[in-house]
């Protein structure tokens, strides 16, 4: 059975249309006009238990809306979803106890004057965690997140990285089976990012929790997720493993060539030059032309080194985000 199963899920907002000027304002009191915004359009996918899936796409693509629907905050306009067998937006207590949603932009809710420990105790109460289990979970989390020094400090005095660590502890102390992580590394410094990434990896491995993660940082996705779901303009544009992503999305490969003599001549007859320095060049070559081009390069030049690579994910995504999926 899948942990998350989504069929034809759609979300359409109605936003009032406001025109400038006093007349329009008065008119809108009488009869409002609405514009329909289709944030999510009939998406379908399944996530198996224990899977870690990266949910990516440009701003406004519908990632957060989808996460909100799956966590029960939003009610879709159409379609079905089951998470752990529950319909999320019924917001049943048993369901809410099994999930967690963590937002990198706002990892901790609640009064900032509380200490982290106070907040943890409050979570214990709300999520009905037995004392023993609470202690066990907390000590495990402490080990992975190095909470020790944070517990007695007030939330408002924590740095962003510390907040994220505490937020993770708060969300995970009740052992949710499904985690929705919305941009968990946003705004963090390098070492905090490393820590969060390795934590999510360890946590999902050890507890077999299902994780759905959105991020703008491809590195997050590359290190954590085997599988990627790319959403664009509310539709799923790709669903599959990371390797296949660039193959599907980018019609090009990168051919790196190093030659022994400085003489290089005109590289552009082989392909589009991405970068070059004396004796060394990177070419963007159409996927199906790669064999022919490498053969020509090897025949015509004295090649020291030649490598064919998939283009870096960041640049593929950049193209996709800017130009849409071809």
């Amino acid at each position: 059975m899948s942990a998350i199963s989504v069929r034809d899920l759609s979300m359409t907002y109605r936003a009032p249309v406001r025109e400038g000027g006093l007349r329009a304002a008065v008119a809108s009191l009488v009869r409002r006009r609405y514009r329909e915004i289709r944030a999510v359009r009939e998406i379908s996918f399944e996530v198996g238990p224990g899977e870690v899936v990266g949910f990516i796409g440009p701003n406004g693509a519908g990632k957060t809306t989808t996460l909100k629907m799956l966590s029960g905050i939003l009610h879709p306009t159409d379609g079905e979803a089951r998470v752990l067998g529950f319909v999320p937006w019924r917001r049943e207590r048993e369901y809410l106890r099994r999930i967690a949603m963590i937002r990198g932009s706002q990892p901790i809710g609640g009064p900032p004057e509380l200490t982290v420990m106070d907040s943890l105790r409050f979570q214990q109460l709300i999520y009905e965690v037995q004392d023993e289990e609470f202690k066990r979970n907390l000590s495990e989390l402490d080990e992975m997140l190095d909470l020790g020094s944070l517990l007695e400090r007030q939330i408002r005095a924590l740095s962003l990285g510390e907040r994220m660590r505490s937020g993770l502890a708060l969300a995970l102390v009740y052992r949710p089976r499904v985690l929705f992580l919305d941009e968990p590394t946003i705004g963090l410094d390098v070492s905090a990012v490393q820590m969060i990434r390795s934590f999510v990896a360890t946590y999902s491995r050890e507890t077999e929790a299902t994780v759905l993660l959105t991020s703008h940082y491809m590195a997050d996705v590359e290190t954590l997720c085997r599988r990627i779901v790319l959403i664009d303009h509310g539709c799923i544009a790709y669903d599959g493993d990371l390797m296949g992503l660039s193959a599907t999305l980018s019609p090009y490969k990168l051919v790196r060539v190093a030659v022994s003599d400085g003489a290089c001549g005109d590289w552009s007859r082989y392909g589009e030059v991405v970068e070059s320095e004396p004796g060394r060049v990177s070419l963007r070559v159409g996927r199906q032309d790669v064999p022919a081009v490498t053969a020509r390069v090897l025949a015509e030049l004295s090649v020291v080194d030649l490598a064919v690579e998939e283009p870096p994910l960041e640049s593929v995504m950049d193209r996709v985000y800017r130009e849409g999926v071809a």
Partner: protein, 260 residues
């Protein structure tokens, strides 16, 4: 039962939190004392000029003011800290946190945290009620005390319901922030509703039920209350609880299907 335990926990957490700010503590206590004292003084000046205000003697009016302070203290302690500027919570996504928790959302959103220092006002209100009874030279009969407690509970229920109702407006009209107006109308509770001229008096009893907060409970204590009024108060208190639940869930339905 579980909600009661939760309520206890939030209270103790908030108490510890407030105790950490000692200067706040002193200032708030001082402000409460000054507020209550100035209310009494204002009333005192009125009674140097007259023996009766809207049919209420000095002692009776003091009992009423004390009752008003008690309910105000409850409002400030348990309700206001949660729902103040609620529209901001809705638009900032703070409400999402509430929705994610496996606890009834109306409970967590309206009673999830508190400001225990407001209880000083409740205590002072009790003292003022005592002072009023002393001034009247009356020891209330058990039935009157009972009537007062019932009407007071109804008043507190109506207070909670009306405040949450006002906050729920944010689901439909987030730009309408009427928190200040609520506080302003609330002030009408300081005096018996009989001092206000007729259309206002009617409005304060049935439309914005300020009368239920102070006038009716105080009346029950100093003059007794008929069973009809007692029943009516209870019914209206219960009805308001029901109405607010309905409106809240309607608002939530709107929120979960229409916001971004």
């Amino acid at each position: 039962m579980r909600l009661l335990r939760l309520f206890g926990a939030t209270f103790s957490i908030s108490l510890r939190r407030q105790l950490a700010f000692r200067a706040d503590l002193a200032f708030q206590a001082l402000t409460t004392v000054i507020g209550v004292a100035s209310g009494l003084a204002a009333l005192g000046i009125v009674y140097t000029q007259t023996r009766s205000l809207g049919g209420w003697g000095l002692g009776e009016a003091v009992v009423l003011l004390g009752t008003y302070q008690i309910v105000s203290g409850v409002l400030a302690t348990f309700i206001e800290p949660n729902v103040v500027w609620f529209a901001g919570q809705v638009t900032s996504g703070k409400l999402d946190d509430v929705l994610l928790k496996p606890v009834p959302s109306i409970f967590l959103a309206s009673l999830g945290s508190c400001a225990p220092l407001g209880l000083t006002q409740v205590a002072m209100g009790l003292a003022v009620v005592g002072a009023g009874l002393r001034e009247m030279d009356a020891i209330p009969r058990a039935y009157n005390l009972f009537g007062w407690l019932v009407m007071l509970s109804a008043g507190i229920a109506i207070t909670w319901a009306s405040r949450v109702l006002l906050a729920s407006l944010a689901f439909w009209a987030p730009a309408m922030e009427l928190d200040v107006v609520y506080g302003a109308v609330w002030q009408f509770g300081r005096y018996p509703v009989s001092v206000y001229p007729q259309p206002v008096r009617f409005a304060l009893t049935w439309v914005l039920p300020v009368a239920f907060v102070s006038t009716l409970p105080a009346q029950a204590l100093v003059r007794g209350v008929g069973p009809a009024l007692l029943l009516l108060g209870t019914a209206i208190g219960a009805a308001s609880l029901l109405v607010v639940q309905l409106v809240w869930s309607a608002g939530l339905r709107r929120y979960t299907s229409a916001t971004s």
